[in-house]
């Protein structure tokens, strides 16, 4: 790995997770406020995350196994916020703690 590739790849890996977090936060705020604009912001973050994953897969000198891991993790990022949210709503609903926007 060259010096430039090193910084580019590491930076992209960090930003990949950051946009995953951005998706999670905006998705949650969107569900909380029941506003589509926040949800759309979340999906936009996720789209950027997919794009970054694509750039990493196509251009980075990472080994194939790590590239597959990145692809897998992008799918995991997609699922975690809605699954977590659904479970949160269910457990809170069962305990009578319902969020009313």
């Amino acid at each position: 790995m060259s010096s430039v590739e090193l910084l580019k790849t590491a930076g992209l890996l960090g930003v990949l997770v950051l946009f995953g977090g951005g998706y999670g936060v905006l998705y949650a705020v969107g569900r909380l406020r029941r506003q589509r604009s926040w949800l759309q912001g979340g999906y936009a973050c996720y789209a950027v995350q997919v794009l970054i994953a694509g750039v990493l897969v196509v251009t980075s000198p990472l080994a194939v196994g790590w590239k597959l891991l990145i692809v897998f993790s992008v799918f995991a990022y997609l699922a975690i916020p809605p699954v977590t949210w659904r479970y949160l709503e269910r457990t809170h609903h069962e305990e009578g703690e319902v969020y009313d926007s």
Binding site: M1, S2, S3, L6, L7, T9, A10, G11, L13, G14, L16, V17, L18, G20, G21, G24, V25, Y27, A28, V29, L32, R33, P61, L62, A63, G65, W66, L69, S73, A76, Y77, I80, P81, T84, W85, L88, T91, H92, E94, E95, E97, Y99
Partner: protein, 464 residues
């Protein structure tokens, strides 16, 4: 108030005082990079660094102990068992910390013999405390275990949170024993040393802070036990599932078999995923309670914990955890940047939140708010993010110039250390360190005065 909670307040006082010592030592260590001649032959950089990182461990540990002594009697409806010995252990621990700090400052180092191991410095990062002090810490942890288990037995009651806590205390104690042997084979020594350092920080401490946060959320937001315990089980399972074998990312370059590259890279790449779930959970809780609680500083510090943990451990960690990147980044300021952010997010913010919760009750304040805590919250977090960012720039410069271009030679190391990118990062780190220190001073002022001079009896917004 339970007697156990009075002991907790003592632990919190000691923890916050040591937090200050850590900052002073950190500022000094940071300044050596700007002026390496300062205190030359008087007080070495290595000693300042030892103080900085060892005190980090001790103040957080004291914060955890304090938190458990605070919540345990309320959780079990029973005064903590063995408080007499617990108080002795507290004073023994404080005295040991003072003596060890004195030896580090005034003696600093010794010859390579058993005497140095026993009375000056064991020489392994994070567990430099001489062997007598390490044995003392072991005894204190044993007393702590006795307090928790004994209280549960006497109360004839066990809750989900306390059960997880008790299970966690066993490895917490057992792993610390690794600090005692002096293994001469460096690979073998590092292999086991990482069990202690990684398994404490990314496994047993994660579970411990998970239990503490579960108890804090019940008190802070009135969240139901079932919700808190369900999430504790899920998050502990996920954190342990990824964190235990994530140990492998420390085994890349210490002479261990090659398969650790795959195991370490794979499991540490999964580590941000449960943290993302925690962030979503934090947003949900903040929405349910509309960012309002009867203790606003504690609430904001709990939120900072979730976000700081995700960014510090998740984003910063993933940037450098794959072996192909880690080959260049390990042991540089890049790692230091990750360490600062992750420790702060995962543990520092949580301990501060619990201190505010304890003060609210001990001072009988119905609604805790004010202005000073907001300044300390902002300055500490901006200072920390600034330090982490500055260290990242310096670390990337090291990885770029020293490792990738220079091939990790001594000459490349020296050249990288004098590159403008590295130096500017060091200046910025020191500046943000000063900001962080100002935030600490305001935090101490606020902890001393909050509830005494402001907001007592103020209108209590409804915490939904």
């Amino acid at each position: 108030m339970y007697e156990s909670q009075r002991l907790a307040l003592k632990y919190f006082t000691a923890a916050i005082a040591l937090f200050g010592v850590m900052i002073v030592a950190g500022l000094l260590a940071a300044y050596y990079y700007i002026d390496p001649q300062i205190l030359y032959n008087v007080f070495d950089f290595s000693t300042a660094k030892i103080l900085h990182i060892d005190v980090l461990i001790i103040w957080l540990l004291m914060g955890f102990f304090g938190a458990v002594y605070w919540f345990l009697p309320e959780e079990l409806g029973q005064e903590t068992v063995g408080l007499g010995v617990a108080k002795v252990a507290f004073y023994v621990l404080c005295a040991a910390v003072l003596v060890v700090a004195g030896v580090f400052i005034f003696v600093q180092y010794g010859t390579s013999d058993e005497f140095s191991l026993w009375f000056i410095n064991q020489g392994r990062k994070y567990v430099e405390a001489p062997r007598w002090a390490a044995l003392g810490i072991t005894a204190v942890v044993l007393v702590f275990m006795y307090n928790v288990i004994g209280t549960a037995l006497k109360a004839k009651k066990i809750t989900g949170v306390v059960a997880v806590l008790i299970v966690d205390l066993v490895p917490l104690f057992a792993l610390y024993l690794i600090s005692l042997p002096a293994i001469t084979n460096m690979s073998v020594d590092l292999y086991w040393w990482w069990w202690l350092v990684h398994m404490w920080v990314e496994a047993t401490w994660e579970v411990l802070i998970g239990c503490i946060m579960a108890l804090a959320l019940m008190q802070l937001l009135g969240t139901s036990r079932r919700i808190v315990e369900t999430w504790l089980y899920i998050e502990v399972a996920l954190v342990l599932g990824t964190g235990i074998l994530g140990l492998g990312h420390h085994y890349f370059w210490i002479g261990t078999p090659k398969y650790w590259l795959s195991i370490g890279g794979l499991f540490s790449a999964f580590e941000p995923l449960p943290l993302l779930g925690m962030v979503v959970h934090a947003v949900y809780d903040s929405g349910v309670h509309r960012m309002k609680a009867t203790n606003r500083p504690a609430f904001y510090w709990v939120m900072a914990e979730a976000f700081g943990n995700f960014i510090g451990a998740g984003v910063w960690g993933f940037m450098m955890t794959l072996p192909q990147i880690n080959l260049f980044s390990h042991g540089t300021q890049w790692t230091v940047s990750h360490g600062h952010f992750a420790f702060w997010g995962a543990y520092g913010c949580g301990v501060i939140a619990v201190v505010y919760l304890a003060l609210q009750k001990s001072r009988s304040v119905s609604y805790m708010d004010g202005t000073a805590w907001k300044w300390s919250f902002a300055l500490l977090n901006i200072g920390l993010v600034g330090m982490a960012g500055a260290l990242l720039v310096s670390g990337m410069a090291q990885a770029f110039y020293e490792r990738a271009i220079g091939g990790s030679t001594l000459q490349a190391f020296i050249q990288a250390q004098s590159s403008p990118w590295f130096m500017q990062g060091m200046y910025a780190r020191f500046g943000f360190g000063i900001l962080f220190a100002v935030g600490y001073v305001i935090l101490v002022y606020n902890l001393l005065t909050v509830g005494r001079r402001e907001a007592v009896g103020a209108a209590v917004p409804a915490a939904t």
